[in-house]
Symmetry: C2
Subunit: 387 residues, 2 copies
C-alpha cells in the first residue's frame, strides 16, 4: 500500500473538487462568489473553472443580477454531461432508472421476475439494462456507470455472498456486469442503496448521519455516517436486522436467537395474521386496518412497538440525526407511527435531548433504484477527483 503523498497535482485536484462541490451545492454561481465561498483566490477559481468548462462539466449560462458593479457570469453544472443507470433487483421484480448526473429520471422500467435463479436473472438483466442505456442522449461522458441494489450480503468486490430470499450464493454480479458492459459497476445491499436514495433524493436530503431501516420480509439497515455509507470493518455491515432483542427468544436462521427481524418485519406480521385466520397478504391486511379492524390494528401496534425497540437500540448506538423507515412496511406508517414513536421516546436515552427525527421514506418503492443510480453517480465524481 503506497501512502498518498502530496504534490501540486493533488492540490489542483482538491481545489477543483472544492469548486465543483460549491457549484453543485448552490448553483448558479459566479466565479467571484465561488472565490468568496471557498476562500480560494479569484484567479485560482477562474483557472479551475476554465478547466471544468473545458471538461464539459460546467457551463456559463449568461449574466446574473449586479449589486452595484459588473454583472457576474453565472455558472452551472452540466447535469447532462453523463448518465447513470440504477437497478433494483427484488425477489420478484426488476426495477431500473436512467438518470442524469443530478439524479433526474430520464427513463424508467419495471419488470416482473419469475424464477430468481441467478443465471436466469442475469439473462433478463442484460437486455433490461441495455434498453435503459439506449435511452440516453449523446453526451460527453456517456453512461458513467451502473449501480445495482440486491437483497443480500454483498462483499467489497461486488459479489453477492448470500441472498437467502433469492436463493443466491456467491454470485459475482459486479464482475459479470462489468465484463458485459465495459463500464464501472457498483453493487450493494438493498438497504444500503435505499439509504443512499433517501439521503440524496428523499426525506433525508442533507442529513449527515442517518439510519435507514428497510422493513420488508426481513429487516435490513443502511447507515450513513458523516455523509457516507458506513461499512463495517470487513465491508459488509448493516446486519442490524439480526440484533438480538430477546436474548432467549426464537432461534433465527442466522444462528442467533431473538433477532429483531423476527418480531418487527413484514414476515412477523404475516405470520401473526395467518395464525389469527387472516390472509397472508400485506395489502389485504392494510385494507382491514383502513377499515378499522381492531385485531389487525393491534397486530400493527405490536409490530410498531418492536420496531421501536430496535430503533431505540440504533439511536443509542449511533446517535443519528434521523432514522428513516422504508421499504414495504413503510406503507403501514399511519398505523405504526404512534407505537413506534412512543416506544422510542420511552426507550432511547435522552431521545428529545438529541433531537433525533423519526421519518418515513419519501421515495416509496423508488428508494433503492434511486440510491443505486446515486451509487454510480458518486463513483463518477470520485473518479473525477482522483484523476
Amino acid at each position: 500500500m503506497k501512502t498518498t503523498t502530496g504534490d501540486q497535482a493533488l492540490i489542483k485536484r482538491m481545489n477543483t473538487a472544492i469548486v465543483l462541490e460549491a457549484i453543485l451545492q448552490a448553483e448558479p454561481l459566479s466565479r467571484a462568489k465561488i472565490s468568496e465561498i471557498t476562500g480560494l483566490n479569484k484567479a485560482t477559481v477562474s483557472s479551475l473553472v476554465q478547466d471544468l468548462i473545458d471538461n464539459q462539466l460546467v457551463r456559463e449560462i449568461g449574466t446574473g443580477v449586479s449589486s452595484g458593479g459588473r454583472k457576474p457570469v453565472m455558472l452551472e453544472f452540466i447535469a447532462t454531461a453523463g448518465y447513470a443507470v440504477g437497478v433494483d433487483i427484488g425477489v420478484n421484480y426488476l426495477r431500473g432508472v436512467l438518470t442524469d448526473l443530478r439524479g433526474a429520471i430520464i427513463a424508467e422500467k419495471k419488470l416482473p421476475l419469475q424464477a430468481p435463479d441467478a443465471d436466469e436473472v442475469f439473462n433478463v438483466l442484460r437486455p433490461f439494462i441495455q434498453t435503459l442505456m439506449e435511452k440516453a442522449p449523446q453526451s460527453p461522458f456517456g453512461i458513467v456507470g451502473i449501480g445495482v441494489g440486491v437483497p443480500g450480503l454483498v462483499d467489497r468486490a461486488g459479489s453477492v455472498l448470500f441472498a437467502p430470499n433469492m436463493g443466491w450464493r456467491d454470485v459475482p454480479l459486479k464482475e459479470a456486469l462489468s465484463r458485459t458492459f465495459g463500464i464501472p459497476v457498483m453493487v450493494d445491499n438493498e438497504a444500503n442503496v435505499g439509504a443512499l436514495g433517501e439521503r440524496m433524493f428523499g426525506i433525508g436530503r442533507g442529513i449527515s448521519n442517518m439510519v435507514y431501516v428497510s422493513v420488508g420480509i426481513g429487516i435490513g439497515t443502511g447507515l450513513i455516517l458523516h455523509r457516507t455509507l458506513y461499512k463495517g470493518a470487513s465491508g459488509f455491515s448493516g446486519e442490524l436486522g439480526h440484533l438480538s432483542v430477546e436474548a432467549h427468544g426464537r432461534p433465527c436462521r442466522c444462528g442467533n436467537r431473538g433477532c429483531w427481524e423476527l418480531y418487527a418485519s413484514e414476515q412477523a406480521l404475516l405470520e401473526q395474521a395467518e395464525a389469527a385466520g387472516y390472509p397472508r397478504d400485506l395489502d389485504e391486511l392494510l385494507e382491514a386496518a383502513e377499515a378499522g379492524d381492531e385485531q389487525v390494528l393491534a397486530m400493527l401496534r405490536g409490530i410498531g412497538e418492536y420496531l421501536g425497540v430496535g430503533i431505540s437500540n440504533i439511536v443509542n448506538v449511533f446517535n443519528p440525526d434521523a432514522v428513516v423507515i422504508g421499504n414495504r412496511m413503510s406503507r403501514a406508517q399511519p398505523w405504526l407511527e404512534e407505537a413506534v414513536t412512543q416506544t422510542v421516546e420511552q426507550r432511547a436515552l435522552g431521545f428529545h435531548l438529541r433531537g433525533v427525527h423519526l421519518l418515513y421514506a419519501e421515495l416509496g418503492d423508488r428508494s433503492a433504484v434511486m440510491g443505486a443510480a446515486e451509487l454510480a453517480i458518486a463513483a463518477f465524481f470520485e473518479r473525477l477527483k482522483s484523476a
Copy 2:
C-alpha cells in the same frame, strides 16, 4: 465553516506528517529508506527531515550498516521532546501517569478518593496533576497536554454531562483544567480512553477496528473504527451498555428495558451473589471461583453468556477485527472465557468467517490512564500536522 483549500503549505504539512509517521513506525530509519517507503523524492525527504530536526522532533543517532555503499545516517523520533499527563478518574480513586511522547511511563501516581463530589475531586485533582507535571524533565515542548478519562457522558466541549456513579451533572472539567494549567486538555469517557489505551499500548496494538467493552459496575464501550475513536453524530456515543437484549426485561434507570448491562456487568454478578447469600464483593467471589465453588462458577458462566449475547450484537453491527473485554470484570477471564466464546460463536453471524478475535485487556487497570495519556499525545501530533 471554511473548507480547507489546498495550497503548498498543506502539501508540506502532509508530507512532513508522512515522514514523521514513517519514522515512528519503523525507527531507526535512514533518509534513503524513508524516501523508498513513502515514495517521496530523496531531496524532499532530506528537506523535511531537516525541518523535523530543527523542530527537535527527530535526531540523528549515528550511522547504520551499509549494504555495499555509503553508510546511512539513522534517524529516530525524540520521544522525550515532550511529555503527556494521563488521568483516570474513578468512583473511588484517582490514577495518573506522566509519559513521554511514545507512551513510556515516566512517573505514576494513585490516590484513593473519598467523596466523589465534583468540587472536592477538583481540589484533589489539581495538586495531583501538578505533582505529575513537576516530574517531567526539561524538554523542548514541555507538557504537551493532559488527557482525562471519566466514568460518564462527555460532550465535545469536554464537559461531563452526566456521571451517575459520581453524582456529577454538567461539570465543565476540560474548561476548568485548561484554565488552571494553560495547556491543552482532553476529556473523554472512561471506555473510550480505555479503548485507546489497549489499542495503542495493549492487546489491540495495530488493530484497525476494535471494540473495547469496559465491564465494571456498568458496561461502557469504546469503538475504534478505521484507527480512530468513533463518536456518534452528536459526539457522545458508546452507550452500547444500554442496548436492550431483553425487550421486555427489567426496567433500567436509563428509561429503556432489558439493557445489556443489567445482565452482564459486575453489578449484575454482585446482585446475584448477594441474593444467593454470598458477600457483595468481587474479590471474594473470584476467590470462591478459584476454589472451585460450583455455585459461583455457574453465576460467572451466566454473566459470560450474557456478555456473549451483547458481544454478538456488537460483532453483527460493527464487524470489528477484535473485541477486547476490559476493566474490573476482565479479571474474571478464566471463568468467563468459555461461556463468552461459545455464545458468540453460536450467535454472531459468520463469526469464524470474519475472523473476529475475542481478547482480554492487557494493561489491566492501566488501560484507561494510558489511553488518557494517548489522548493528549495524539492531540499534540494533530496540532503538529495543522500548523
